[in-house]
Symmetry: C2
Subunit: 192 residues, 2 copies
DNA sequence: CCGATTCTGTACCGGACGTTCCACAACCTA
DNA sequence: TAGGTTGTGGAACGTCCGGTACAGAATCGG
């Protein structure tokens, strides 16, 4: 067989994910990733093939450990009528909590959508798929809150809420207050 | 006196602005700017001091020639009741017109807000000021459309519309359809 | 026409980047 | 214990970056 790795792959990916989250793909340098993961370049390249390979693993970790858990009440089999309001509220808390990664850096994936790495169609597809997950969950939350509304009206509402959530995640880095107001606007729409 | 410049400064700034618009500050390399402007490094540095100086001139050109003209109906002395709807519609057209710079690259300034150059407080202030201009114009549009609404309600509406416009400008690069839906949501809110 | 001043092109600098190479250390199987 | 396989560290590579130095060309006032 040969020698076994001396590191915990999952922990390495989490550490790298936080670096990419904080700095973005391009500005996360290999020295940054080396010191954050405790691995040397060779080990990184041996385990992940390239900086991009490590980034892909970090994105998977981000989706599985960060975004999907918060979205779960909107993706479970039964969605409570107040699940959407609770989701918006918890996201608002995360975006206004001093020191939280989300407050400081927004969304790893949406940030990447504006960066050079988004030239890669695979990255764009990942971002689009993430937005679709968000939109689907919010759609189910709207349906649970307003079951008697016409489908077209539900769609309009869900679309507006999704756009406001995306807006909040995109602007939180540069204007946290605006992000909070954006989520408040979404909450107001969803409750009406 | 000495030798006179052989180039048209305004045209040079416009060319540089388009490069920054398309590629962002960091990814606009000096060779890119040289070929787009027709100037060599020496002339650029002589005229603008640094890459950053050229960027600042490009931002000014962007605000004066791109964003403010479209916003004008909302900043003029008298604002028509349908000025906001017209603004949203014209922005939607710009973001869906194949080949237009806005459709392909969104907003030069908002794109910069997520880039490393935004670490500079001056750049962040410029972005915030731009958002304030947008917010103020939309606020006047809301007031013209719904003069009898309570001020607090007008503010909520204007805030939501501004967030949806910002969201559209930020996501258009990666998902033009989502940008259009975001503006449609804003139009729906403003009309109601 | 002369000299000062200003613009412009070429070559170059130091530094950072992602990636690769190579020698060596560690572990498995036989 | 020997041989093959795999993980690890460190040095090196080629490339690109923004910025600068310098020499020459162009145009001014006198």
């Amino acid at each position: 067989m040969g020698r076994a790795p001396t590191f915990d792959a999952a922990a390495v990916v989490r550490a790298a994910r936080d670096v990419f989250w904080a700095h973005g793909y391009e500005e996360a340098s290999l020295p940054d990733l080396e010191s954050a993961t405790g691995l040397s370049r060779s080990s990184i390249y041996h385990a992940f093939g390239s900086k991009r390979g490590l980034f892909d693993a970090a994105v998977t970790s981000y989706l599985d450990d960060v975004t999907r858990p918060r979205l779960r009440p909107l993706t479970a089999e039964h969605v409570a009528p107040d699940a959407l309001a609770a989701y918006l509220s918890s996201l608002r808390d995360a975006l206004t909590a001093a020191g939280s990664p989300a407050a400081a850096h927004g969304c790893l994936l949406l940030n990447a959508s504006g960066a050079p790495v988004a030239h890669d169609p695979a990255v764009r597809a990942t971002v689009a798929a993430y937005r679709d997950e968000l939109r689907a969950g919010i759609g189910r939350g709207v349906a649970a809150r307003h079951p008697d509304l016409p489908a077209a009206e539900q769609d309009r509402l869900a679309e507006a809420c999704t756009a406001l959530v995306v807006a909040a995640l995109l602007v939180v880095r540069v204007d946290p207050d605006a992000a909070a107001r954006s989520l408040d606007a979404a909450t107001g729409l969803a409750a009406a």
